[in-house]
């Protein structure tokens, strides 16, 4: 029971950021800036000039006040009645607001039907008279996509890169893993140790020469550097597949050899078909890796039309960040959702794949 309690607490802590992202993504902008925060997005209505209108609450008034308009100023001001006498200059009284602590009023503006922009004209209504309904702003996604400008381009670029890197990784790693596990040849296991050792090399060490290499080929500013490498069997994936290939009984290969199959035929007709689950894991890891990669695109892509979703999201944030949190969260949600859906669909294979990396390693 205690365990259950701890797990619930932990789950709440871990899922809150994601829930908060979803919640913010579905809110109108003024609700992102309300304190205390609201978890669910709402729409507010009140009687304005005898008509029920959608409104945006702005300021809460908790003492008897007067709304005034200073001469030469367009915006109205709300002055507590006690301070009204201090007001210098000419002003026009717009409205007496008989608010107090128990009966607060709200200064509101009309909500434009399309989205977050509001008309500036203020109205005053008692808070009690404001009605509230749940309302998800699905339009935030449309607006976020519009604000990101090249969203569909980013998506297309990302999917193309995912396709090529997944193909490259699966094919090349399967070949290499086969050579490292199903054929006996002198020096094989030593060479495999070298392969494992390369995983220790931090990316920053090879980053500059890699950049210079692709630059001399004229590939900086194109997506090529982001997929070429995947056709040369990364050690991690080779390791995963080798692990699986070694668990296949050697007798299968021997029988096939006696029947006159070449190594290539054994690989294609026997090993690959049995290894579908492991190949799926490698493909999934690579897909996620490409989808999530930030540093690679940052290094090699220079034109906005070539950006991937991850880089595009960061670009959007660096241009619009800090104000339109609902759009930023909507955009983030669009980038996150496909990965999470893919994971939920393939959960079992995925978890098994990760477990392999740590246990048998």
């Amino acid at each position: 029971m205690l365990v259950f309690f701890f797990l619930v607490i932990g789950s709440i802590v871990f899922s809150t950021p994601l829930i908060w992202m979803v919640s913010t993504a579905l809110k109108p902008i003024e609700q992102t800036m309300s304190m205390p925060p609201t978890w669910l997005p709402y729409r507010y209505f009140a009687d304005i000039n005898g008509k029920k209108m959608a409104i945006v609450p702005k300021v809460k008034i908790e003492e008897p006040s007067t709304a005034i308009l200073l001469e030469g100023v367009n915006d109205g001001q709300i002055i507590p009645n006690t301070k009204l006498a201090d007001q210098k200059g000419k002003y026009k009284i717009l409205k007496d607001i008989s608010a107090d602590k128990d009966n607060p009023w709200s200064a509101v503006t009309l909500e434009k039907i399309t989205g977050n922009e509001n008309t500036t004209e203020q109205f005053f209504v008692p808070v009690k008279a404001v009605e509230r309904t749940l309302c998800f702003r699905w339009s935030n996604f449309k607006e976020a996509i519009k604000a990101m400008k090249c969203f569909w381009m980013y998506l297309k670029n990302t999917l193309i890169l995912c396709f090529f890197t997944v193909m490259g990784t699966v094919i090349s790693s399967a070949f290499a893993a086969y050579g490292f596990s199903r054929i006996q040849w002198p020096g094989r296991d030593k060479l495999f140790l070298v392969a494992l050792a390369t995983m220790m090399i931090p990316f920053p060490v090879i980053m500059v020469p890699l950049y210079c290499l692709y630059r001399s080929l004229g590939f900086v500013g194109t997506p090529h550097p982001l997929w070429i490498g995947s056709f040369f069997a990364g050690a991690f994936n080779v390791f995963l597949l080798r692990q699986f290939f070694m668990s296949i009984p050697q007798t299968l290969s021997e029988a096939a050899r006696i029947d006159g199959c070449s190594e290539f035929q054994i690989f294609m007709r026997i090993i690959l078909p049995i290894s579908k689950p492991a190949l799926l894991v490698v493909a999934l890891f690579q897909f996620m890796g490409t989808w999530n990669d930030f540093l690679g695109p940052l290094l090699f892509l220079t034109n906005q039309e070539d950006f991937t979703l991850a880089l595009g999201l960061q670009f959007f944030q660096s241009q619009h960040g800090g104000t339109e949190w609902n759009y930023l969260m909507a955009a983030s949600l669009l980038v996150v959702t496909p990965v999470i859906v893919l994971f939920l669909l393939t959960q079992k294979a995925f978890i098994e794949g990760i477990s392999t990396t740590g246990i048998k390693g």
């Binding site: 932990g10 992202m21 070949f175 220790m200 060490v205 090879i206 040369f232 999530n292 940052l298 978890i351």
Partner: protein
């Protein structure tokens, strides 16, 4: 060598050739070039000029370099143990017979799937000083909420939290290890009347010690190279208030691609490599006594 052996060698090398070519081009060449550039003045546009150890001696007197190194080590010093302890705790809890285990496991795992760019966005919003969720909770608990992202004393704790949120991967690895611990060990401990804590200390932790070591090494490698979150959350490489969130990899990137000091960046990369190797070696020595490999 018999004909069969020759054939096997030929076929083996043929199958492994994608890796061999990749190894030669993307590892041997790049590592060699990186080592060479680290002794050069190199700006990509003109040819590298050999300048001996100048990059390394420059580094010793570059106060920003020391700041970046300090930031990274402090960050790692907190992030690695915190990540290690919390993921082991979560894994132990998840390994107990409670209802809804798959759901809990998914919830703990999901954050590690979120692309780092999106992770950074989410936490930027949560750490927001004015409307952020974290400060709202802190205020509710009667604590003053700091300006996480603009106060230099809070930028590193903020990043530690961001990184620890993504422990799902190691939780899954620990969980798999926990499930391989022989049940008999617990049964005989029960007979001896060992309590929960004793069983954890004397059976569970020793049994999964190789995996703890694996995750520790991964943590060292990952934390010292942390790039995306600080780069995105603290103004694309400026390093945040008073450079308090300028991390090693970020400064290295800045040197290479903003100041075009490729040689200096390579020298920095080699020092990073040495630090990682040194820490990994220390971790290996420290844990050697405590790792129990199963029979």
């Amino acid at each position: 060598m018999t004909r069969g052996e020759k054939y096997n060698l030929k076929m083996g090398l043929l199958f492994v050739s994608p890796w061999i070519i990749g190894f030669l081009v993307f590892t041997v060449y790049t590592v060699g070039a990186s080592f060479f550039y680290s002794f050069c003045d190199y700006d990509v546009l003109s040819k590298p000029v050999f300048i001996g150890l100048t990059n390394y001696t420059d580094m010793a007197s570059d106060s920003v370099f020391w700041k970046a190194l300090y930031n990274t080590l402090i960050f790692a010093f907190f992030a690695i143990p915190l990540g290690l302890v919390s993921s082991i705790c979560v894994a132990i809890l998840l390994n107990m017979p409670v209802s809804g285990r798959p759901v809990f496991r998914t919830i703990f795992f999901l954050p590690s799937l979120v692309p780092l760019v999106a992770t950074s966005m989410i936490w930027l919003w949560i750490f927001n000083g004015k409307f952020g969720l974290l400060n709202y909770f802190l205020n509710m608990a009667g604590l003053p909420g700091p300006e996480w992202l603009t106060n230099e004393h809070y930028t590193k704790p903020a990043l530690v939290l961001t990184v620890v949120w993504g422990i799902g991967n190691s939780v899954v690895i620990y969980l798999a290890a926990l499930q391989e611990v022989p049940v008999q060990l617990y049964e005989s401990a029960d007979i001896d009347g060992a309590g929960f804590l004793r069983k954890i200390l004397h059976i569970t932790l020793p049994s999964i010690s190789p995996v703890i070591y694996f995750n520790l090494v991964m943590g060292i490698i990952g934390c010292l190279q942390v790039f995306a979150q600080p780069y995105i959350m603290f103004g694309a490489g400026t390093g945040g208030p008073n450079r308090s969130a300028l991390f090693y990899a970020v400064y290295l990137y800045e040197n290479a691609f903003t100041y075009n000091q490729m040689g200096y960046a390579c020298a920095m990369a080699w020092i990073l490599f040495m630090i990682i190797l040194g820490l990994t070696y220390m971790a290996t020595m420290l844990s050697r006594k405590h790792i129990h490999y199963g029979e």
